[in-house]
Symmetry: C2
Subunit: 346 residues, 2 copies
């Protein structure tokens, strides 16, 4: 399977590393042989119809800061035209999340689907802003759209909800979907003020220099949109989320909660009454009351009770493993379609 | 789909109740229309080729203590011959777990498979004693063997491990697989002695009158066998488990652990070095360190890190929902096989 990788940051590079280290076992165990035939970053593009040399691609990125110098003399660079023209089955969209207008991800995804390519996105922006219409466009063009890595990094939160409870139905869910804010709130639980905890998170690399995406609940809200659409069959976008971040949470709030056996967590919730992201007091004995950068979600089902899943919701290699999961899933879907078509035409 | 239900205790009755309450939505949502055509308990059997009247079956059981009086004049009763002769697609084996020789479950399952019937078992005994050979027999007879309800009640622990982490691989797992012992240890954490906590568990209905199956770790070991075979591809039986129960855990052990920020839990573990069930000290911040009757398992994967799943590992309706999950899964498998066969013969 041939991929175009658009965006070559932490996840894109981790995916290339994963392919490098697993090239043999992927074919042996899963029957897939993924090749990256084009790669795009802010500085340019690298193209090879037979598959890019991933070792060289990674070292080019490391040395030059861009893969634009991978192909000497390659100066043509229109990412959308590249997505349209390069012969490939799948676009991996891994440009940074932009919750203002979803670009460049949204144009990349639309262009790929219109030219008959399946899409794996780890970029939440397009889904947060336009989930229902992107699914519609995928169906219309008879291509697959996958996004396992957008929620929970390598955690199979979406797979759990869709595949593990067949015959039952999920009636609501709530959880911690953002590791950065959970780290900050956990540190406040240890006695740091909000500013001290935020600085600590920045120092450890958990928070960006301008951390509004996390702190103000946008990241959790984007993930909530994806879950509400995919798991609950809603048709909502980020505008429909009632969102409040953690910047107003004070150390005295945290201490007051602690006296009552509770911790304050940034909880995303989807039930009959609300679709919201907000600081919420949780009992310490609640299974989702986890600390540090952990993510945790509890699904309430109609017949089998509550199910909680907990894991590290971020990281390059874990998220790259979610991309691989999506890739194998797309391969299976194509294979099933082809098999049926072949048998029918026999 | 026609089922024979052998064993009409809590799970068997819950399954009948679930079918009664969901008869319409099961067909509408999942395309299945399960009918119980024969039911067996210690007192006899009830048979109807067109499907038993579940309301009457349940009230017969309630009033008479057995469904043996459902068919007036029906005195023939050889359960194995019944499994062999009654026209049905699936046997639901729900007789009590027997870890000495697996009977009557093991004979029921073997008879069903040899007569071409798929099997769903919620009885751990046969799997704990003979997992590898039962799987072999199922393959040989071209039938499906499913057992989702044997581990974690309604929790999809087995599904999670098999379906949610494709492209990755699970390298080890450990967890709390028995709610009764977890309840007792949690109560000891609140200051009760072992005997007091055990009595409390009996009083609440969490422990049997002769609770050795739970207390001595047999139940957890049986579940560990199932997970080790199914998830890790091992070929082991309960004899291969290094097993130690909780009856030697004292209140002072629990208090000593607590001083170090730890709780004692009965942990089942499967990794490169060991296949064991034993009391283990866990840090309170470990996600699987859950209290009460909760079950919890952490899977360690090669690429996507640790994943924990937590839920209530028991209960009639939740376990019945796992049976339904197995049933839908078998239907899909049969359907796929038939579709391929039909297309090939076109």
């Amino acid at each position: 399977m041939r991929l175009i990788v658009n965006g070559f940051g932490v996840v894109g590079q981790s995916f290339a590393k994963l392919l490098l280290s697993r090239s043999e076992d992927l074919y042996r165990l899963h029957g897939v042989n993924p090749r990256i035939v084009a790669c795009v970053d802010k500085g340019g593009c690298a193209v090879s119809e037979t598959g890019l040399d991933l070792q060289r691609l990674l070292s080019t990125k490391k040395l030059s800061g861009t893969i634009g110098v991978y192909n000497p003399g390659n100066h043509i660079f229109d990412p959308l035209r590249l997505i349209e023209k390069v012969d490939a089955e799948i676009l991996l969209e891994s440009t940074p999340t932009n919750l203002d207008n979803g670009e460049p991800g949204i144009s990349n995804i639309i262009t790929a689907m219109k030219s008959g390519k399946h899409v794996i996105t780890v970029n939440k922006g397009p889904l947060a802003l336009a989930f229902p219409s992107l699914i519609e466009l995928a169906n219309y063009n008879n291509v697959e759209l996958r996004f396992s890595g957008t929620v929970g990094g390598g955690m199979p939160i979406l797979e759990f909800a869709k595949r593990c409870l067949r015959g039952d139905s999920i009636i609501s869910f709530h959880g911690i979907l953002n590791g950065t804010t959970n780290y900050i709130l956990s540190k406040m639980g240890e006695g740091l003020t909000f500013d001290e905890a935020l600085n600590d998170a920045k120092h450890k690399g958990y928070a960006e220099a301008t951390p509004s995406l996390d702190i103000d609940g946008y990241d959790a809200a984007a993930k909530l949109v994806i879950m509400a659409n995919w798991i609950m069959g809603m048709k909502v976008t980020i505008k429909d989320i009632n969102r409040r971040g953690i910047s107003q949470v004070t150390l005295s709030d945290v201490k007051r909660a602690h006296k009552n056996g509770k911790a304050i967590k940034l909880i995303a919730i989807c039930d009959k009454r609300q679709l919201a992201v907000k600081p919420t007091e949780l009992s310490y004995v609640d299974p989702i009351c986890v600390d540090g950068t952990l993510n945790a979600v509890t699904f309430s089902s109609e017949y089998s009770g509550n199910h909680t899943i907990i894991g590290h919701g971020a990281g390059g290699i874990p998220t790259a493993s979610a991309v691989l999961r999506d890739l194998i899933d797309i391969r299976d879907t194509i294979f099933e379609r082809r098999q049926t078509a072949d048998l029918k035409s026999d």
